[in-house]
């Protein structure tokens, strides 16, 4: 008997979860009614999950950062309110809720009061297009996403830019010099880093052939983008840090220079909103990195590609929190940039590297290098019918495709199945099953490679953070000063 939600197991985790699924959840439902139930309920459930998820996440990321930062800084971090300090952020929010709200007389009331809205709302908006999980329900592959906008990544860029206006409003509206300087720094920083950021995203779009976030995740079913596009990943990571004002790019909030930056004059709940927006952005940027470069909800193939809600959401969250941890790690380690170094770094280094990165990826796709194809196979295999389906289904919901071609007329091996965010991606398993043994070996080799590569990346990051020893060693310095006679080592 084939289980309702069961996917062909690809790994031990999937197998385990399927077993649990069959044990507890597999009621006798006809396949048609199951599908109807799924299409209606899943949307609602997904939306509710995401709404609750946002609230919990924002509260949790703050605590998460403080605890992890405490770990890096040999101290405990908040651990008193609730188990392991779990309710610390709730307590903080309640405290800020009761705080007196002071608006300086010199401030401009309208701008001053609108700014928290203009900063907080865009940070929420990003959640619309972030896919957080996927599963087989009713025989089709459903994605946990509010709406799979076909311009997904462009939408994210547009939304994240809106917050900048909020920062400028806050900075100018408070009529405070630190806030003003901070706001201008913020503006300069965000517009400068947006250019390399978009260029890094273009590399992903090239491989996926679509701007939809779901399509981008699907394009990574064989190998995550971090492997072929490691340069792009680094550029995006750096720009993401800059866009969220995280260390080492926390110039707008440099407390040693500008006290509290653009929210110097804000108190009580308005300050809390700026604070929450910042941490929402941290999560959002991590989630975007996960989606664009780390394969989204997909787990490593050897642990199962994620055939159930639980596995897929687990992988998505795990990867996202790994990114958040890296953000915190960088904050715990690095000093702050100076504003001219910051701009120089974006324009003189990141922009050309990002442009070259696009050209390299473009060439990779053009010459059908398997790393850059977003689907398995070399040029010969891709020309066979099955592989063709794999390649083209990815285009199915892309905006360009819909604009350029009337999808009604599509015939032949191209399948387009669209619904309310419910896209049939059963081809993944079809493709895997249809693969020759050689191809399967290739798959596995890739995944092992990807895993090793990840370890290598982590190791590199570790080495880099432990200190690129560009400064001469102290002994050398010392012998140079004292003519090589004295013994520097005490």
């Amino acid at each position: 008997m084939k289980a309702l939600g069961a996917a062909p197991h690809n790994g031990i985790l999937d197998w385990l979860f399927n077993w649990f699924y069959n044990l507890f959840l597999n009621w006798n439902m006809s396949e048609a009614s199951a599908a109807a139930w799924a299409s209606g309920m899943n949307q609602l459930i997904a939306f509710l999950i995401i709404v609750i998820f946002i609230v919990v996440t924002v509260l949790f990321v703050v605590l998460f950062e403080r605890r992890v930062l405490g770990f890096f800084q040999i101290r405990h971090g908040p651990n008193r309110v609730g188990p392991q300090g779990l309710f610390q952020t709730v307590a903080d929010a309640l405290k800020l809720l009761q705080k007196e709200d002071i608006m300086p007389l010199a401030a401009e009331p309208i701008t001053y009061n609108i700014a928290p809205f203009a900063v907080f709302v865009p940070s929420i908006l990003a959640f619309v297009v972030i896919p957080m999980g996927a599963a087989y329900v009713g025989g089709s592959y459903n994605v946990l996403i509010v709406r799979d906008l076909n311009i997904g990544i462009l939408y994210l860029l547009a939304v994240s830019s809106v917050a900048l206006i909020g920062f400028l409003m806050a900075g100018w509206g408070s009529n405070n010099k630190y806030a003003l300087i901070s706001a201008f720094r913020n503006a300069a920083q965000i517009i400068s880093y947006e250019v390399p950021m978009i260029l890094a995203i273009l590399g992903v779009v090239l491989v996926a052939g679509s701007t939809s976030m779901v399509d981008i995740v699907h394009s990574q079913s064989v190998v995550w983008n971090i492997v072929p596009q490691f340069v792009g990943f680094l550029i995006y990571l750096i720009c993401g840090l800059a866009e969220t004002n995280r260390c080492p790019f926390d110039l707008p909030e440099a407390e040693s220079e500008l006290v509290a930056g653009f929210h110097t004059e804000y108190s009580g709940m308005k300050f809390a909103l700026f604070f929450l927006a910042e941490y929402t952005n941290v999560f959002v940027i991590s989630a975007i990195i996960t989606t664009l470069f780390l394969g989204g909800w997909k787990g490593p193939m050897f642990l199962g590609a994620g055939g159930l809600w639980l596995t897929s959401i687990f992988w998505f969250l795990a990867k996202t929190y790994i990114m958040v941890t890296i953000f915190v790690w960088l904050r715990a380690t690095l000093p702050r940039f100076r504003v001219d170094h910051l701009m120089g770094f974006a324009w003189k280094f990141l922009v050309p590297v990002a442009v070259v990165n696009i050209l390299v990826i473009g060439l990779g796709v053009a010459f059908s290098h398997p790393l850059y194809m977003g689907s398995p196979g070399n040029i010969n295999e891709r020309l066979t019918a099955d592989a063709r389906v794999v390649a083209l289904t990815q285009l199915s919901s892309s905006s360009i495709y819909n604009i350029m071609f009337d999808s009604e007329k599509v015939e032949g091996p191209v399948r387009i199945i669209e619904g309310n965010g419910t896209v049939d991606f059963g081809w993944i398993n079809t493709a895997y099953g249809a693969m020759s043994d050689d191809m399967k070996t290739f798959f596995w080799a890739y995944n092992v490679f990807a895993f090793l590569f990840l370890i290598l990346i982590l190791f590199t990051v570790w080495k880099v953070i432990r200190g690129v020893k560009r400064a001469p060693k102290l002994e050398v310095m010392w012998s140079a000063v004292s003519g090589g006679e004295a013994d520097a080592k005490a």
Binding site: L180, S256, R331, T333, P335, H341
Partner: protein, 382 residues
């Protein structure tokens, strides 16, 4: 394009924009002024065009107060001037009194003084290192610095009973003898400490962002540094080999082997390296003290109420911040109190050069430069 041409292009661009200068207050209540210093800065955009330090927010009239206190009573008060290196302040008073009473300090006492002062120097430099990195935006070094400073403070607590304001060095010697337990712990510390500094260097000194932030920032040439009467790491960071412990030896320093830390960079990085090197040198001295602490008494025989003969004296020592001088006048024989006591505070003299150092740099650099001066407001205002 030559630099002059480029500058003229840029100047024209600035002029055509017709912008105003912004006047910003840094302090008295500001995270990076390390106390209640107020810097009134004028900036065009983020480039500093003028800085005026305003002092006096922490002025407690210590010098005037000393005139109404006996010499021994004055020491706790002096401790509170430069509260991060109070051993040195105590030493200044003790040295002045010893000169006017001609008390012979036992050799062991002088050695213990050196141990106490060098421990205090390490504690002071550690705190400086943490806060300096915090000024540059790195938050972890502060925590690491405090972890290791705790070790030093514990040692100082063992000998003096206090953790910040020691009141330990006094005319004729020190208040209490060191215990074998202390010497054992000191030895442990001297072995533990070099890896600590290696860790700091690994964490911060080699960091590319850090290097960019501190090299060629706050440059003050050898000549200007001397003319501004800078002292301590500020002076040695500008390539002047002037360390009072070597050039004008006092206490038991001639018996120790150590080197002056000198850097030619003239910038913030040079000062940073000087201080890091000084910590290693201090540790080197502590090691020597562990091995060769002489036997004897920890203090000379001094009456409870010390009486000085009439006269005046100026003694100066190398504090963590620079040349700490004490100028004492007594107006009569058997004087119980100083008629006038003046402290030549290194922070005050060093701070004066901030405008020259930070003009033309950016706001962020100004903070780094201020951090590199290592001011203690208690020392500046007194």
């Amino acid at each position: 394009m030559s630099s002059i041409e480029k500058n003229s292009v840029l100047e024209r661009r600035i002029d055509s924009l017709l912008t105003d200068e912004i006047t910003i207050n840094f302090g008295p209540q500001h995270p990076s002024t390390h106390g209640v210093l107020r810097l009134e800065a004028k900036a065009s955009g983020e480039v500093i065009t003028a800085i005026t330090p305003h002092l006096g927010y922490l002025h407690r009239g210590v010098e005037k107060n000393l005139e109404s206190k006996e010499f021994l009573q004055g020491i706790p008060l002096l401790d509170r001037c430069d509260y991060l290196s109070s051993m040195f302040n105590s030493y200044i008073m003790a040295a002045c009194v010893e000169e006017l009473t001609e008390i012979e300090v036992p050799r062991r006492a002088e050695w213990i003084r050196v141990v106490a002062m060098e421990l205090n120097r390490i504690a002071s430099h550690l705190l400086w290192w943490g806060t300096f990195c915090l000024d540059l935006g790195a938050s972890s070094p502060l925590l690491y610095a405090f972890r290791d400073r705790e070790d030093v403070i514990d040692l100082l607590e063992l000998i003096s009973g206090a953790r910040l304001l020691y009141n330990y060095i006094r005319p004729g010697g020190v208040r209490g003898d060191v215990t074998p337990e202390f010497m054992k712990k000191l030895e442990g510390f001297t072995n533990r400490f070099p890896p600590y500094i290696d860790e700091y260097e690994e964490l911060v000194t080699g960091n590319a962002i850090f290097i960019e932030r501190v090299t060629n920032v706050g440059v003050i040439s050898k000549e200007r540094a001397v003319n501004w009467a800078l002292s301590g790491p500020m002076l040695r960071g500008s390539g002047v080999n002037w360390d009072l412990r070597i050039n004008e030896p006092y206490s038991a320093y001639p018996e120790f082997t150590f080197d002056a830390a000198v850097e030619e960079g003239c910038d913030v990085m040079a000062r940073y390296r000087v201080r890091m090197m000084e910590m290693r040198q201090s540790n080197r001295m502590l090691k020597q003290a562990v091995e060769g602490l002489p036997e004897g008494s920890h203090t000379a025989k001094v009456p409870t109420s010390v009486r000085c003969k009439k006269g005046m004296t100026y003694r100066r020592i190398e504090s963590p911040r620079g040349e700490l001088g004490g100028f004492m006048i007594t107006d009569q024989d058997k004087a119980k109190k100083p008629w006038r006591f003046h402290l030549r505070a290194p922070s005050f003299a060093n701070l004066a050069a901030i405008e020259e150092m930070s003009k033309g740099y950016m706001v962020a650099d100004m903070i780094a430069i201020l951090g590199s001066i290592d001011i203690v407001l208690g020392d500046v205002d007194r």
